[in-house]
């Protein structure tokens, strides 16, 4: 069985409206974030992966299985969608337990799995209350519990951090990491970019239904050749260093930091820049730190898609 999630030239149109177009991806295990503004196609991609919608063209294989084979696929996949709704009248426990029963497991096993999932999201005390009456954060957590209850190898999460308080958010991130560590896929969408930056092994940047970049954030950043990388250097003699940098043709811009103890450099060739920094250090200049400031997903996203369309 393949361990990849593969999209082969997948397109989805809602009538005349484009959902996603010509998406070809191969997603390895780990935490993968889909990043893009509203309407960029993140949810469409997730719904396609889980068979809630069908592609107009192309093929999707999740660990070698198609969405047309739900009996096998959904033993391996858990999806926590954006729909903040529950079947009427069910408590949190019933919501998880009764849907687990659909897999054909016996009552005792479902009971055990349901409580284990409820414990993982910290909702044991509220488990016998009606799920529809939960707070937004609790609703998000019980839906997450429902998605993980059967122990999936692929966890698909649409905006999973919405409504979570900082403590639960940190616990949830830890939960995702533990899944990834076990060799599972965690595919999540988000527009909270700093979170994506922190937790993702790889990102898929989307805009207008197209995948505009994919890979780990640094790799994606290095692919953007036309956009100079910004680097902040903290050092004791910024003037001397600045004059040295001006001699290099790949240095596009040098600006003095307002406290006169650092420089903001823009370089079109980061590799040559870091080589240069080695020489500088060897020649006796004291450099406290060298830090790229725009290899986070936010910067990458803005470079690729432009400020106007930027994320929320």
């Amino acid at each position: 069985m393949s361990d990849q999630i593969v999209f082969e030239n997948v397109s989805k149109f809602y009538g005349d409206v484009l959902g996603v177009n010509r998406v070809s991806l191969s997603i390895p295990p780990g935490i993968t974030s889909l990043v893009g503004p509203n309407g960029s196609g993140k949810t469409t991609l997730m719904n396609l992966m889980t068979g809630l919608i069908r592609p107009s063209r192309g093929k999707i294989l999740t660990l070698g299985l198609t969405p047309g084979d739900p009996e096998k696929l959904f033993r391996l996949v858990g999806y926590c969608g954006q729909f903040d709704s529950f079947p009427k009248g069910l408590t949190g426990y019933e919501f998880i337990n009764l849907y687990l029963r659909l897999s054909g497991r016996d009552a005792d096993e479902c009971d055990e799995l349901a409580w284990r999932a409820i414990d993982r999201v910290g909702l044991r005390e509220a488990a016998h209350r009606k799920a529809a009456g939960y707070s937004k954060g609790m609703r998000q957590r019980i839906r997450l519990a429902q998605a993980i209850a059967h122990g999936p190898r692929v966890l698909v999460l649409d905006e999973p951090m919405n409504g979570l308080d900082p403590l639960v958010r940190a616990e949830t991130i830890a939960l995702f990491r533990s899944f990834a560590k076990e060799g599972c896929h965690v595919i999540l969408s988000s527009h909270v970019l700093h979170e994506v930056d922190i937790i993702s092994d790889q990102v898929i940047l989307m805009s207008g239904g197209y995948v505009v970049a994919e890979g780990n954030i640094q790799a994606v950043r290095s692919e953007i050749q036309e956009q100079p990388m910004q680097i902040v250097i903290r050092c004791d003699h910024p003037n001397t260093l600045a004059s040295r940098f001006f001699e290099e043709d790949h240095i596009v811009e040098v600006r003095m930091h307002h406290d006169k103890k650092g420089l903001l450099i823009k370089t079109s060739d980061p590799d040559r820049f870091f080589l240069l920094m080695n020489h500088v250090a060897l020649n006796g200049h004291r450099v406290e730190s060298v830090a790229p400031i725009d290899d986070d997903v936010n910067s990458v996203y803005e470079y690729l898609i432009g400020g106007e369309e930027g994320t929320k």
């Binding site: 809602y14 719904n47 919608i53 739900p70 729909f83 709704s85 849907y99 054909g104």
Partner: protein, 365 residues
């Protein structure tokens, strides 16, 4: 079906039964099912308490013969009446003001005597001790009551109550969950969509059957509760009563199966229930006018032939009613049951093709 699929099917039924029986938005279905029960119950209460002295007559041995009933005429005195008819079952007297032929106000003593015959009741009005009015009310016989029941069953219960009840139950199985945005939980479970469809349908049939067969049973009890136990026992065990009642319950169940499959399919195809409801209602009503081959694609075509009491076509009956009750092309019970079940299976098979390609797009709901 293997053990896993059976367990999955039962899990769907378990989940759906909760939603179907205890849904607040399905409350009107219970009212619809109970409406004919209320109708027969109110009728029975009225018969028993407001007109119902006739039950005392056979017991007290004061049932008039037809000859006695024919022997009275206006102008007879009270004593003459008592001589001929015996003591009344009940009597009530009071004085009231009347106008005489000259237009003058006069006070008269009015007395009302009630008698009962084998098939009708007599109300005799005496003014100042002389019989001035005879009111004869035919009492409904068991046969007549069974026609009334058949009429209510065919006109109202099957064609409207069960029809719209099934519309409410079965259209909601998929459409309701799309409106609630909760259908995706099913579609993300490791279960074939055909099993999901079958489970939902079974749960719907179970709910509809329980609600409507219970209603049929209660209607039968209410309708025939005005008759004494001997008459009812004779009807049940010596005439066709038991088979009629079984047939009514069976027809109700088959109606739930047939209309259930149709409205389950409609719920997958239409967003607005009014469109399929109107279309199917017209199609069912127009069944007698359809060509022979198309008649077979109608639920009522089979149900009509299974109804145990055919309503007699009265010349004064409105044309629409006559069309609805006429059964110009009766078929045997076996063919009717087989035909209706086949039609339901066909519709469910078509629904399974649709559900396999079903997509979730809540934003357009």
């Amino acid at each position: 079906m293997n053990g896993l699929r059976w367990a999955q099917l039962m899990s769907v039924v378990r989940l759906e039964i909760r939603k179907t029986f205890f849904a607040r938005r399905g409350l009107w279905i219970y009212f619809l099912a109970l409406a004919p029960v209320a109708l027969f119950t109110v009728g029975a209460i009225a018969e028993r308490h407001f007109q119902g002295v006739q039950h005392e007559a056979p017991v007290s041995g004061r049932l008039l013969t037809a000859q006695q009933m024919e022997s009275i005429h206006t102008g007879m005195t009270r004593d003459e009446l008592i001589d001929k008819l015996g003591e009344p079952l009940s009597s009530r007297s009071h004085s009231r003001t009347k106008f005489n032929d000259d237009g003058e106000k006069i006070r008269v003593q009015e007395e009302i005597l009630r008698y009962s015959g084998p098939d009708r009741d007599l109300t005799l009005i005496l003014n100042d001790g002389k019989l001035s009015g005879i009111i004869s009310n035919s009492r409904m016989t068991f046969g007549q009551k069974s026609y009334v029941f058949a009429g209510v069953f065919q006109f109202f219960f099957i064609r409207l109550a069960v029809f719209f009840g099934c519309l409410g139950i079965f259209m909601n199985l998929f459409r309701g969950e799309m409106l609630d945005k909760s259908l995706h939980y099913y579609l993300l479970s490791p279960i074939r969509r055909e099993i999901l469809l079958a489970g939902k349908y079974l749960a719907g049939v179970l709910a509809a059957t329980v609600i409507f067969t219970l209603s049929t049973a209660l209607q039968l009890i209410a309708a025939f509760s005005t008759f004494d136990s001997n008459t009812v026992s004779r009807y049940l065990y010596q005439e066709h009563g038991l088979s009629h009642m079984t047939a009514y319950l069976g027809v109700t169940m088959l109606a739930c199966i047939g209309y259930g499959s149709v409205f389950l399919a409609a719920g997958l195809l239409f967003r607005n229930p009014i469109v399929p409801a109107a279309a199917v209602l017209i199609w069912e009503a127009a069944n007698p006018l359809l060509p022979a081959i198309l008649k077979k694609f109608s639920v009522i075509y089979y149900l009509k032939s299974l109804c145990p009491v055919q309503i007699p076509l009265d010349p004064g009956m409105p044309a629409l009613f006559a069309m609805l009750v006429s059964n110009g092309d009766p078929i045997s019970a076996y063919v009717a049951v087989f035909g209706l079940l086949s039609l339901s299976v066909l519709v469910l098979w078509a629904s399974s093709l649709k559900v396999r390609r079903l997509e979730i797009n809540y934003t357009t709901e």
